[in-house]
């Protein structure tokens, strides 16, 4: 099984040189630590920035420079700033090559649920619905099962959707699966995980 860092490292292999990418909160924020040598990507922060740098050194925090998680960050040499309408224009317009996001549930048809649990406090979808609807390729990084050991990779999502048929690839702690016609296709197994184990841990239909 992969740990959080190994999942982030696997997700980083998805990045293509010279592309613009949006990373969600959670494990996706670890992805920049593992960008392969020779690959340069520009990170978008949907609150209005291309070219997001690391956290500032202590004392260098700037209240006018934050990411979409409201954390203080820094700029890089090719940074550009713009307003929120322009930011989501580039998302909706398909200019962002890939989004790497967390998920609560994914279904075999690519449905994604990651914004609300009915009955719990509802915080809002932020930019997640716009991202999954607009970005060319959506890669989800998630634990394969919930705390009770139940599959989060399902035939159908039970939670309210963030997007319908939007996920292209799932990277979980057990391996990598693609959304294909008829279900999910196993692409890769995590270290120490057998195909039989992955199939047993997955509620969704797996196709060969």
């Amino acid at each position: 099984m992969w740990d959080r860092n190994q999942m982030a490292a696997r997700a980083a292999k998805e990045l293509k040189d010279g592309t613009y990418v949006n990373l969600g909160i959670g494990i996706p924020t670890l992805v920049p630590n593992f960008i392969p040598e020779g690959v340069t990507v520009t990170l978008q922060s949907e609150n209005g920035m291309l070219g997001m740098g690391p956290f500032p050194y202590e004392g260098d925090e700037d209240p006018d420079l934050i990411n979409a998680g409201k954390q203080t960050i820094t700029e890089v040499p090719n940074t550009a700033y713009f307003d929120s309408a322009t930011s989501f224009g580039m998302i909706r317009g398909g200019k962002i090559a890939m989004a790497i996001l967390g998920a609560m549930e994914v279904a075999e048809n690519g449905d994604l649920a990651n914004w609300m649990i009915p009955g719990k406090l509802v915080k809002g979808m932020g930019g997640a619905m716009d991202l999954v609807a607009g970005v060319k390729r959506v890669v989800v990084v998630m634990d394969h099962a919930n705390k009770h050991g139940e599959s989060k990779v399902l035939k159908e999502c039970t939670l309210p959707l963030t997007g319908k048929g939007v996920v292209d690839r799932i990277i979980s702690n057990m391996g990598v699966m693609d959304v294909v016609p008829g279900g999910l296709k196993i692409v890769e197994l995590a270290d120490g995980v057998t195909e039989a184990e992955l199939r047993a841990a997955t509620e969704a239909t797996i196709v060969d």
Binding site: D64, Q71, D130
Partner: protein, 233 residues
């Protein structure tokens, strides 16, 4: 035509009425119109509908208008940082219309550009699409979203000249330009007002045509999530 006012209170004079619709700039606590929010609190205007990506935090930003129960309805994409918001929402005192963030920004931009509605893929197949017109273009389904036309916009820029030509700073730009555009009257607060002619016309982010009343003041600029890394020894 004089756009520069002495204070936020003076800038709001004659514009306020109970039940009015306000569009506000800012993302989290970044680039929010702190001075105009304070003046709205002081004015006591109530039953406000506010379109803003967030609703501040407890006791700061738009959260101040929650504490005084001046807000009737919020149109936002994310309201997770505010316990008083949740209390009022769960008790039924406060209405909430969730908008996907890009849809909210585009609704403001569209309103400001005289566009009453637009079709987007965002939210198709989710609760956001319920009750909205669906239409297919080139084999894909889109939903109709409506432009926002606010009574008043409250926004914050870094600096502006006396004619309202404005420049924003870093990610504090965020929702401020689209919010500015969609109000019948736009009130802008800045950190510095400079004489006409001292800004490079090629570097203006928001032309003064969108800005009707301008004030200058001190901003607290509170940081919501201070994240840093250690300096290498």
């Amino acid at each position: 035509m004089k756009k520069v006012y002495g204070s936020a209170k003076e800038a709001l004079d004659g514009l306020l009425f109970d039940g009015m619709f306000i569009a506000a700039g800012g993302f989290g606590l970044c680039g929010i119109p702190e001075l105009l929010i304070d003046a709205l609190v002081e004015s006591g205007v109530k039953d406000l509908t506010i379109a803003s990506n967030n609703c501040g935090v407890d006791g700061f930003g738009l959260g101040k208008l929650l504490d005084t129960k001046q807000i009737k309805k919020m149109m936002s994409s994310y309201v997770g940082e505010n316990a008083e918001f949740m209390r009022q929402y769960l008790s039924g005192e406060l209405e909430l219309e969730f908008n996907p963030q890009g849809t909210l920004a585009e609704r403001m931009r569209a309103g400001g550009h005289g566009i009453p509605g637009f079709y987007t893929k965002t939210g198709v197949g989710t609760v956001i699409a319920e009750g909205k017109e669906h239409k297919d273009f080139n084999g894909e389904t889109y939903i109709l979203e409506r432009g926002i036309f606010a009574d008043v916009s409250i926004v914050k820029a870094w600096k502006a000249d006396e004619s309202g030509n404005a420049i924003f700073r870093k990610t504090a730009r965020n929702f401020n330009p689209p919010a500015a555009m969609c109000g019948k009257v736009c009130l802008m607060e800045v950190e510095e007002i400079v004489p006409v002619g001292s800004l490079d016309p090629d570097q203006i982010h928001l032309p003064g045509i969108y800005v009707h009343r301008l004030i200058k003041g001190e901003h607290e600029k509170r940081i919501e999530q201070r994240t840093v890394r250690k300096r290498e020894a």
